[in-house]
């Protein structure tokens, strides 16, 4: 007569599991949730012009919206609006380029590469293990006035004299963003493409579809969610990026939202403005995330309906 085998969750076991989850949860409460609340408390805090230290108000009933609303005014129709538009256009151009370069590469790695697959995968993963700023440093070296890029472009007569890439050139910033973020786009897309069951394609071919029709009617629709997921993974951190463009350009002409936030928090004495911008940025990303979640759940439902 053995004991009853499954499931066997007693009250005391629940205590053990709760105790295991407790330290990590507490850590996140104290060092993730409370800090985010501090951002809100600072954004709605007491404005003290000229004072470097933040003046948070912890009690929501006593929040003051003056600083926050003035930031909103500057975002919608003011100078900060320009920065938001610029950030959006950089991010959109970058993600389109990531898609145009990344999709064929991920497709090849997942579905066509046979013998070379191991090597291709290894090289695709390699950038993950190279420090982001080292990868940017590499471009700073290449894009110097007497760097390899200028010398190559002059050698093929595309440039008459060396170009100044590293001070306020939007092309350099977008190049840096694509270079920095594309590995984060390709790998999830690779995973999505690889998961597609080859039998669907065989079925499509058996039913008379040519290779093109099979791709557009089977592979592409099945990989669309993967593209969206890869896009979201890439875009979320990019909206908060300030170092790529601070490093490769460092000019106000190419500033993104992140540069403004960093400027108000580290360079000037207006932590309130910086905190308010963080809230605006977070709201924007919540909307983006919400759109993603709605579209995935809709896609899941339509899959079930079919």
């Amino acid at each position: 007569m053995g004991r009853r085998s499954t499931p066997r969750t007693t009250h005391r076991d629940q205590g053990l599991w709760a105790a295991l989850a407790l330290p990590g949860t507490a850590w996140l409460l104290v060092l993730f949730v409370v800090p985010f609340y501090a951002v809100i408390a600072v954004a709605f805090g007491r404005p003290r012009p000229g004072e470097r230290a933040a003046r948070p108000i912890w009690n929501p009933l006593r929040w003051q919206a003056t600083a926050f609303t003035s930031v909103l005014h500057r975002v919608f129709g003011g100078a900060l609006g320009q920065v938001f538009v610029r950030t959006f256009s950089y991010v959109v151009i970058t993600i389109v380029l990531c898609f145009l370069i990344g999709y064929p590469v991920a497709y090849y790695a997942a579905r066509k590469a046979k013998r070379s697959r191991g090597l291709v995968l290894l090289l695709l993963v390699l950038p993950f293990w190279i420090s982001y700023l080292m990868r940017m440093l590499a471009w700073v070296n290449l894009l110097q006035r007497d760097g390899y890029v200028n010398r190559f472009l002059q050698w093929i007569h595309l440039l008459g004299s060396p170009r100044n890439w590293l001070t306020g050139d939007p092309i350099t910033v977008v190049l840096g963003l694509v270079y920095g973020y594309i590995p984060f786009f390709i790998l999830p897309l690779y995973a999505a493409l690889e998961r597609i069951d080859g039998r669907y394609l065989e079925a499509a071919r058996d039913l008379g579809a040519g290779p093109g029709a099979a791709f557009w009617k089977v592979t592409w629709p099945l990989s669309r969610q993967g593209c969206l997921a890869a896009g979201v993974i890439t875009v979320l951190p990019m909206f908060g990026d300030y170092y790529t463009n601070g490093y490769l350009s460092g000019s106000p002409k190419t500033e993104m939202i992140g540069n403004q936030i960093t400027f108000y928090l580290q360079g000037s004495s207006q932590p309130q403005t910086g905190a308010s911008l963080v809230l605006v940025l977070s709201a924007l990303l919540v909307v983006l995330m919400g759109y993603y979640l709605v579209s995935t759940s809709r896609a899941a439902r339509s899959m079930v309906a079919k």
Binding site: D13, L16, P35, V42, Y108, V125, L126, N141, L142, G212
Partner: protein, 292 residues
């Protein structure tokens, strides 16, 4: 026109241009870094013109080499210390949280589950600003600097550990633990002697991921730094790379690169042998698991 139509009808027909794009992309993604490493061995001061091979910027230059410039090797030790301590704290916290969340059933547990996901989708700058503001206003006892940086690094790594370990937990199921309990073990004994050894590959993978993310981090370290004394390698690259820096900076970055790559390669080998023992996929799959 007909060529376009043919392309539409059979976009990947002959994978020749797919092969071309893929290898061009791979070359583009790797070659700049290789060139940066090459310049770390430059004889002269330039980072854009090759002047011959030397170890000057690693060891021999009496003032500016990584070995002799105190600001460079303090950045290196700061980075390594931060990554090592983060690894030691974030991994056990994350593993315990993953196991707890997988088994614990209550309303509080689903709250904790949701909370755990947020750091994964929060941009670093939001986390950096939050921690900066909280350390300068509410948690004043911990001043900005190394310890604040450490707390920050642990915070953004816990969730990654949970995700990695959770995948493995789902794959293992509960039957081994149930068997151990049928044989008379207590819950805790079953946990320590049965579950933890089974989780080893995932724990090991987490350790590597935490180490690599921590050593690569710039935003959190920079927001929580107090002065030049707590600069990490990425911060050093950021603050001096544009202006008048010497190839010693490339040497510093290359040393870091070697640290990470050796650690990752070792991890891939260990994961491979662990999986072979359990029967499973090979090394490249292990690498992909490590990275995502």
């Amino acid at each position: 026109m007909t060529r376009l139509r043919r392309l539409w009808r059979d976009p990947w027909g002959r994978p020749r241009w797919l092969v071309l794009i893929t290898w061009l992309y791979l070359a583009w993604s790797i070659v700049p870094v290789v060139i940066a490493v090459q310049f770390s061995f430059n004889k002269g001061k330039s980072k854009s013109v090759w002047q011959g091979f030397s170890m000057r910027w690693y060891t021999t230059d009496p003032r500016q080499s990584v070995l002799h410039d105190p600001s460079l090797h303090s950045a290196l030790t700061n980075s390594l210390k931060l990554a090592a301590l983060t690894m030691l704290i974030a991994t056990p916290l994350g593993v315990a949280l993953a196991v707890g969340l997988a088994r614990w059933r209550s309303r509080a547990s689903s709250g904790a589950q949701g909370l755990m996901l947020f750091p994964l989708i929060t941009p670093e700058i939001v986390m950096g600003v939050s921690l900066f503001l909280v350390f300068t206003s509410l948690y004043r006892t911990i001043s900005l600097g190394f310890w604040a940086q450490l707390l920050g690094h642990v915070t953004f790594n816990i969730s990654a550990v949970v995700i990695i370990v959770r995948g493995r937990l789902l794959a293992i199921g509960t039957q081994y633990e149930e068997a151990a309990r049928d044989l008379g073990a207590t819950r805790l004994q079953a946990l320590v002697h049965v579950l933890v050894p089974n989780l080893m590959p995932a724990i090991f993978a987490s350790v590597m991921v935490v180490f690599a993310t921590s050593i690569d981090d710039f935003v959190i370290s920079s927001y929580l730094s107090a002065n030049a004394g707590d600069q990490t390698v990425p911060m050093k690259i950021y603050s001096t790379g544009r202006a008048a820096s010497t190839p010693a900076l490339n040497a510093l970055a290359s040393i870091m690169l070697v640290f990470t790559l050796v650690a990752v390669a070792a991890a891939a080998v260990v994961l491979r042998t662990l999986r072979h023992r359990g029967g499973g996929e090979g090394g490249s799959a292990a690498l992909v698991t490590l990275s995502t």
